[in-house]
Subunit: 314 residues, 2 copies
């Protein structure tokens, strides 16, 4: 099942169920995705049963599947990304088996065709292609094994990042605030079964195609996460209940063969340039630049639809 | 004006206006504090005009003034606290004039008499007495001077902290997730004018009396913040719009003469013990322990009421 949210002038929009071909929709039996997450056991069956899709779907009318959430916790589960970032930022992190995670702004997720406003190109504007999951209510102290069943939806995210601010904030130990403005979300939130065999071990085993200004920039696969999403959920819930509708992110999708398949963020390419050539060569984004992210399966189908955003001056 | 929220079985509760003596209340003209923050210019005058308080107030019926918020950003604006924490945790932070800030869990604030559940005493259960402000909608890029007018309410907070987890999380550079479970809030959210001359330079210039198991533990004053709340708000809004109802915290209230006036968290006392005696002597909280926090003015009045919580086993 694929769910999306139509803009209707309210902050949470109106939940819809999307047809298998992604071109049509039906009204949902519950008003918003937040409400669906709070009443998942009750409404999932109703939503799944919908088989008629009478309305044509225009991606330009879509908000993020979850336009705002009570909580967004983003991991950094791809080791090759973390290693490159540390090399560029001059960070030496202690060795740990613990998932890395910070809490980010969740009161707004950009829709899949929204322009994104920034005040200054000098902030080092960068995209980060990620996968994420949305959980129903998760009790504090849950095990990773038990957390798996709370993963109700999978989403595709652009975690906008301001690199000039990221290093200094990280060095304070307090994590990121200014470096992490709101994220964007691809059109469709999908149930794990919608991904079929590409949902394995709590991982989205799909290539994430990333195009910057129409040029392929990366096609990393989501499988090599050091911790699966169920482990990230359990980590997040160690000392707090997770409210229904909490979004948990993978961090930038990255593979060890990044020199062949490219990257899901510019900072990573710059890291490779530093390693290979001594200095970063690729500039960050400029006003007017676009980025398109679309995970595809081996049949060429894009379960989350395409996330297409343009950077504009605030 | 003092506002509070009555439990009514809903997640946001029901907003009330509290009498000057704190013993009675009247229904508000708007349903919830979140809605009041979104419509502040329209509703503040109506709320301020309420002069009859027909109902008796029982603090046990109160939720947090804002039982959940879309965003909670906590600073660390008291230098003497930061210096002690760094000494204890073995952290060397770069010198910076930038306010320190992390984003914490905001989907739940404990009410002023709620028990607080933790899974394990070995986590290093600690309180942190703080002040905070609640803003209406703040545009990205605002100046500190302009941010002052967006500070609509002032609150008193207990930022529960798990010290065993805090150091390792801080050293990752990602900030705190597990170390920071939900906070508690004192009964009343007050408009800055309610504090009179004790609201100065964006600071709450009151002593915060902290009692642990009925013994006075600290009485630090809120004035020596390195950055005022208006500066913290501007820092938070540098690269994001702040949604109405965003809560911004001061960090643990601390004064340089901590050996005389005590501390607002146990970790700080332990830091003093490390400096003075080589090792920490004071243990963290045990199940059954209580903490009471109450800011008082020189006339002995407590504008926020008393925040009284007990630690219990989850």
């Amino acid at each position: 099942m694929r769910l999306a949210t139509l803009r209707d002038g309210t902050k949470d929009g109106r939940l819809i169920v999307v047809s298998p071909d992604g071109n049509a929709y039906a009204a949902a039996t519950v008003g918003t995705l937040q409400e669906a997450m709070e009443r998942w056991d009750e409404v999932a069956g109703q939503l799944t049963a919908i088989a008629e899709f009478p309305e044509a779907l225009d991606p330009a009318q879509l908000a993020a599947p979850l336009p705002r959430a009570w909580q967004w916790l983003d991991g950094s589960a791809f080791q090759s990304h973390g290693d490159l970032m540390d090399a560029v930022l001059g960070i030496t992190k202690p060795k740990t088996d613990m998932p890395l995670m910070y809490q980010g702004t969740s009161d707004k997720f950009y829709g899949p065709r929204d322009d994104v406003k920034f005040g200054d190109e000098a902030l080092g504007i960068d995209f980060e292609g990620e996968f994420g999951v949305i959980v129903d209510a998760v009790p504090m102290g849950i095990s990773a094994a038990d957390a798996m069943a709370h993963i109700r939806l999978v989403v595709q995210i652009n975690d906008w990042s301001l690199r000039t601010l990221a290093g200094p904030e990280m060095k304070t130990g307090f994590g990121w605030v200014q470096a992490k403005p709101p994220c964007g979300m691809a059109p469709f939130a999908v149930t794990p079964d919608e991904l079929g065999a590409d949902w394995r071990n709590g991982r989205v085993c799909l290539n994430l195609n990333v195009d910057w200004n129409g040029q392929r920039f990366g096609a990393a696969n989501g499988e090599p996460m050091g911790h699966g999403f169920h482990e990230l959920v359990a980590h997040a819930a160690r000392t707090r209940d997770l409210v229904a509708g909490t979004v948990i992110g993978s961090g930038t999708v990255s593979n060890p063969n990044f020199r062949e398949i490219g990257s899901s963020c510019i900072a990573e390419r710059r890291g490779i340039e530093v390693l290979d050539q001594g200095d970063p060569k690729t500039a960050f984004m400029a006003f007017g630049d676009t980025v398109r992210m679309e995970a595809v399966d081996t049949a060429g189908r894009a379960p989350f639809g395409a996330l297409e955003q343009k950077v504009v001056r605030a």
